[in-house]
């Protein structure tokens, strides 16, 4: 079975030049960085906060904070990873506020697993998503990932959707590499389990109800 290719996140040499220009006062260079990554920041923020308005605020706050703190960017990590770290922190703050719960953290609900990671063994069609209209599919995927604890879905989004490495994800979230791996496995398996309901092969060829 072949493995999954990772998304490549930008040419770091060109990017560093943009960051240095922006730091030197070239506002157009910063605008290019903004246009390059605003969609990613929005996606991450929406996944974490699960709230449209909050996600838009996170995009603004994260980029403004990045602009203000550009001189603190060390250049030993990618600009994108640094920006994502700012955005994740802003998004978690919004989530805590919205839930009026100070305890939302990356450690949420990790210990509530009953130990059974897989229960569903039905095979899927080769391209199961083609059964659904794009909007219907978006709805299924959105609702399914919403059901995961914040700590799980954040790791999944950074690692699998945005294509950060395990080490970058760990650094961004302040977790150890084994902790990221454990959350990622549980997130992947829980999503798989929940999606099986929609994507598994139906008996007799009908679409499952």
């Amino acid at each position: 079975m072949e493995t999954i290719e990772n998304k490549v996140t930008g040419d770091t040499g060109e990017e560093l030049a943009l960051v240095l220009s922006a730091r030197g006062g070239d506002i157009n260079a910063f605008e290019r960085l903004l246009k390059k990554y605003d969609r990613n920041v929005f996606r991450i923020a929406q996944h974490i906060t699960q709230n449209r308005e909050d996600a838009e605020d996170v995009v603004q706050d994260a980029f403004l904070k990045a602009y203000e703190k550009l001189d603190q960017f060390q250049g030993n990590s990618k600009f994108y990873t640094w920006l994502v770290r700012i955005a994740v922190n802003e998004a978690l703050m919004k989530l805590r506020k919205r839930k009026s719960d100070k305890t939302v953290s990356m450690d949420d609900e990790v210990e509530t697993e009953d130990g059974t990671l897989t229960r569903e063994f039905a095979d899927w069609d080769p391209n199961p998503e083609q059964r659904y209209q794009q909007s219907e599919l978006g709805d299924i995927l959105g609702k399914t990932i919403q059901g995961l604890p914040a700590g799980f879905r954040t790791v999944f989004v950074l690692r699998d959707v945005e294509g950060l490495s395990t080490e970058e994800t760990a650094e961004t979230l302040g977790l150890s590499v084994p902790a990221v791996k454990s959350r990622l496995l549980r997130a992947r398996l829980q999503l798989r389990e929940r999606l099986s309901k929609f994507f598994k092969k139906a008996k007799g060829g009908d679409r499952p109800k």
Partner: protein, 81 residues
Amino acid sequence: MKCKDFLNELNDFLDGSLDPKLKAELEDHLVWCHHCYVVCDTTKKTIQIYRENDVYELPDPIRERLQTAIMQKCKAKQKSE
């Protein structure tokens, strides 16, 4: 190899970061264990589906509004310094 051992290595197997010997053992397990084959195949599809379908797309009008607001604030900060 037991199914539990397979599951423990599933991440690295899917990410292609296993050493060749362990990878071969896992591939061997997949030949005869249909449950693990299904789990592996459908987990891979889960990741691909989330990667290929943008669940939360930023619509262009909102994107433009945000970009304008951010750049205005950045320019204001630059002037005040």
